[in-house]
């Protein structure tokens, strides 16, 4: 057993609330010297808030942080860096048009007679990269000459060199790396671990968690689930802890679902055959039938959203083809999809869903109007009728239809987007995380609505990171893992089997 002295960092009883949400609720976290510690959890679990508290981006409401036996109060990222906590973010914040050496030493350039000593700088940077990370590259070249992996490492080198680093935080560094580049990064991480640096590693790829980490801390809904030795925690159990479902709990299929499953048509409305897109989703087959809800299960980053985007045509597939009502689609793209009767509620509500300055009414009629074109204007009277109908039907809490949609709460914004698509009377409805960030009551409302819509003859694709929800609403479930569709289940679905499939482990 380890003693307290092994711990380089302990965070105890951390609380942090944002308006309307308790982001961190009494979370403890401990990091040992010379260990690689994975921080895992689904979206909204509190991973990034915990990191922000540690790096001084956010102040905790309560709790203490002890680094090397001393209590610290990080005020800003700069401050935490001087304390010995370095962070490398997912998006590399370096200047890609400057040389590698400049990037490594920017702000701390060696000077001679008040001017930058370029040759000393290049030597220093090259030595640094060699010594710290064991990589040998031409540091006079601009950074964008190199792969993302190398850029990532330059960022690490820079972070390590600024202060004597005790803790290195890697926030999803591998999300844009390929297999070789990831191995390169892992090599560096192992080297640093051997030197006694404590590394906090955030990733969505389970295989990487098991390849590199010593211990795992799981968060869910802002609460600590626990910290575990990687070697003694089977994959499937980890998944169960992340999504908050224990294996023996089995979901009872609701009667409405059984009832509606009788009306499922045999032939597919939307039929994807070997559809794929390089760097996004590997070729997959998927049939959506009228009256049926198909669930997409898988972890974040497994290709759920990418599947939805390709099916809706926001991203054009580069292999395979999609048939709609038996005819091959040639005009991919949102407008073509809307005209065919395919709708997508996108995952990123703020960036891809709402148009925040427009009113609720305008947001609801947007897709209908886009379908009708510029000149066949939906009359103002009709717009109010449509808007009010869906405000009532979906229980959208807004004073009037003329309220700018940005003034609504997240759940109500989500309903507005749902209304926008329902108003187009689609045959195929793709819902990407329709219940994210929504309170429990509304969640249940939306799940019920999806089943009702299917019962009326709509083909639905339901995407969610909550397996429980997928199980409850879907007649058929497709499972994605690491950007590939790996399995499809229909009829009586055993949750156990799905969890193992998501995790990619043997039963």
């Amino acid at each position: 057993m380890s003693t307290m002295n092994d711990y380089i960092l302990t965070m105890e009883g951390i609380f942090k609330a944002f308006p309307g949400v308790q982001a961190l609720d009494n979370v403890d976290f401990g990091l040992k010297k010379g260990e690689i510690h994975c921080l895992v959890g689904e979206n909204g679990a509190g991973k990034s808030t915990l990191i922000k508290v540690l790096t001084g981006v956010e102040r905790p409401d309560a709790g203490q942080i002890i680094l090397d036996g001393v209590e610290i109060h990080p005020r800003s990222p700069q401050h935490s860096q001087t304390l010995g906590i370095s962070t490398v973010y997912q998006e590399i914040n370096l200047c890609t048009n400057l040389s590698v050496a400049e990037n490594v030493l920017i702000g701390r350039e060696p000077r001679k007679f008040g001017r930058i000593d370029w040759s000393a700088m290049n030597v220093q940077a090259a030595n640094l990269l060699k010594r710290l990370l064991d990589i040998d590259i031409d540091v006079t070249q601009p950074l964008d000459m190199y792969t993302v992996a190398i850029q990532q490492m330059v960022a690490i080198a820079r972070a390590l060199d600024i202060a004597s680093t005790k803790i290195l935080i890697l926030d999803e560094p591998t999300s844009s790396l390929d297999a070789n580049e990831t191995q390169q990064l892992f090599k560096v991480m192992r080297k640093l671990r051997a030197e006694g640096v404590g590394i906090i590693f955030i990733t969505h790829f389970m295989s990487q968690v098991y390849e590199i980490s010593d211990r795992i801390t799981v968060l869910r809904n802002g609460k600590l689930v626990g910290a575990f030795e990687t070697a003694s925690l089977p994959r499937v159990e980890l998944i169960a802890k992340m999504i908050g479902r224990s294996l023996d709990e089995l979901d009872d299929m609701s009667s409405i679902k059984l009832e509606s499953s009788k009306h499922i048509k045999a032939e597919a409305v939307l039929d994807a055959q070997k559809v794929g897109r390089a760097g996004s989703i590997k070729p997959f087959d998927l049939q959506l039938r009228a009256g049926e809800v198909v669930g997409l299960a898988g972890l974040l980053g497994s290709g759920r959203t990418e599947t939805a985007r390709v099916l809706f045509g926001v991203d054009k597939p580069d292999t395979g083809h999609i048939e709609f009502d038996g005819a091959t689609i040639t005009d991919h793209g949102p407008l073509g999809s809307i005209k065919r009767g395919v709708a997508l509620c996108p995952e990123d509500r703020k960036a891809e869903g709402i148009v925040d300055d427009l009113t609720v009414r305008e947001n609801i009629v947007l897709a209908i109007q886009a379908n009708k074109g510029w000149f066949s204007h939906v009359g103002i009277q009709e717009q109010y009728e449509i808007a009010n109908r869906y405000i009532e039907m979906l229980n959208i809490a807004t004073p009037t239809a003329d309220q700018p949609v940005k003034n609504l709460s997240g759940g109500n914004q989500q309903k507005v987007i749902l209304a926008r698509w329902l108003a187009t009377h689609p045959q195929v409805l793709i819902l990407d995380e329709p219940t994210r960030g929504i309170d429990v009551g509304t969640k249940a409302e939306i799940q019920k609505l999806v089943l009702e819509l299917a019962d009326e003859g709509m083909a639905c694709l339901f995407i969610s990171s909550e397996l429980e929800e997928v199980l409850r609403t879907s007649h058929r479930i497709a499972v994605l893992r690491e950007r590939e569709k790996v399995a499809e289940f229909s009829g009586e679905v055993d949750e156990h089997v799905i969890m193992h499939t998501i995790a990619g482990s043997e039963l």
Partner: protein, 355 residues
């Protein structure tokens, strides 16, 4: 209590209207004129036509007003069109050369016959507007389909446009004497004829944007082009339309401007006017990052710009010093519109909204 609440509500709906701040700015400038310039508000009635400083503001502001109408749509999509001044010069050159082609023969002969024109009026106007439309289309293609940043894309025509105008007129200034054409900028029918043009263009544009879906699409694209794309709005087409229309408006402004001075001058027609037009739109409350717009507010914004110019002349500021004085006034006006100052205004009559 209820009465107070009603008053508060009414005050809020007035101050939150897009027309409120440009109108206040306009009235402030007029107040200044009232206090310091005697006779500024005198309006004479000569043979049924009205004359006076106020009328001059409206008349001289008509070119910027026309530009501001087109510019509003472009800015609402999140772009900007720097080439409107150059497009004015091109349209003016086309019109000039079609009425008086002597420059092409490299002869400087002054036409004095007010009934002479090389081509009939409808050809003159039609060709000038068509060329302006093509200029706008060019900008639109660069921005919407080549994905060039609007400022860079329209800078191309801003610099090249005057060269093109010079080519059309063979590098000479073209005298315009044809009387029917002169009516565009100088005619009077109770009010100056150019005012009717502005009113007509404003009305048509308003109908075009608000009685079709175009206005909503423009705002939607300007606010969030990704959400718009996901909803099936074709961003490229919307932008192409906005720039093309802006070019068309610049063409009309070019005709008014050259008709007013009886000369088609490739070097000076609409010089630096694009900045006035952009400022007019900003004063009208449309954000430079795109989104909600009001055409009428932009036109009032244009009148604010013109009123400032006119007032400065009236109190004896020399024309060479005008830009400096004008910029000071513009800074004051823009500050007036900043969120902070707006907050002060909204605070009057209404306590901070309880949340």
């Amino acid at each position: 209590m209820k009465q107070l609440a009603d008053r508060t509500l009414r005050w809020r709906s007035i101050t939150e209207s897009r027309l409120f701040f440009p109108t206040v700015a306009f009235l402030l400038v007029l107040l200044f004129d009232f206090l310091f310039i005697p006779g500024f508000f005198t309006i004479e009635n000569r043979d049924g036509n009205l004359y006076g400083s106020l009328i001059d503001i409206l008349r001289n502001g008509s070119t910027v007003s026309l530009l501001a109408i087109g510019m509003t749509l472009v800015i609402a999509t999140g772009g900007v069109d720097l080439s409107v001044g150059a497009v004015m010069a091109i349209a003016a050159s086309v019109a000039g050369i079609l009425m008086n082609p002597s420059a092409l023969r490299n002869e400087v002969f002054f036409v004095t016959d007010p009934t002479y024109t090389f081509q009939p009026l409808w050809v003159v106007i039609g060709a000038a507007l068509l060329v302006a439309l093509i200029c706008g289309l060019w900008n639109g293609v660069l921005v919407a389909y080549m994905k060039i940043q609007p400022m860079v894309a329209t800078l191309v025509l801003m610099t090249a446009g005057r060269g093109i105008a010079q080519l059309i007129t063979n590098g000479l200034r073209v005298q315009i004497t044809y009387r029917p054409f002169a009516y565009i900028g100088q005619g009077w029918f109770i009010l100056p004829f150019s005012l009717y043009i502005v009113a007509f263009v404003l009305l048509v544009t308003w109908l075009l944007t608000r009685k079709t879906a175009i206005g909503m699409f423009i705002e939607s694209v300007g606010i969030n082009f990704r959400s718009s794309y996901f909803s099936g709005i074709q961003e490229s087409k919307v932008k192409l339309m906005a720039y093309t229309f802006c070019g068309f408006c610049a063409g009309i402004a070019g005709l008014v401007a050259c008709s007013n001075v009886k000369t088609s001058d490739a070097n000076n027609t609409g010089l630096f006017i694009e900045l006035d037009a952009i400022l007019a739109v900003v004063i009208g409350g449309t954000s430079m990052s795109g989104g909600r717009f009001s055409l009428l507010a932009s036109v009032i914004g244009a009148l604010v710009m013109q009123a400032v110019t006119q007032s400065m002349y009236a109190i004896g500021v020399q024309s060479y010093a005008l830009p400096a004085v004008k910029s000071v006034v513009v800074i004051i006006v823009i500050l007036l519109f900043s969120e902070q100052v707006r907050g002060l205004f909204l605070g009057i009559g209404a306590k901070k909204k309880e949340v």
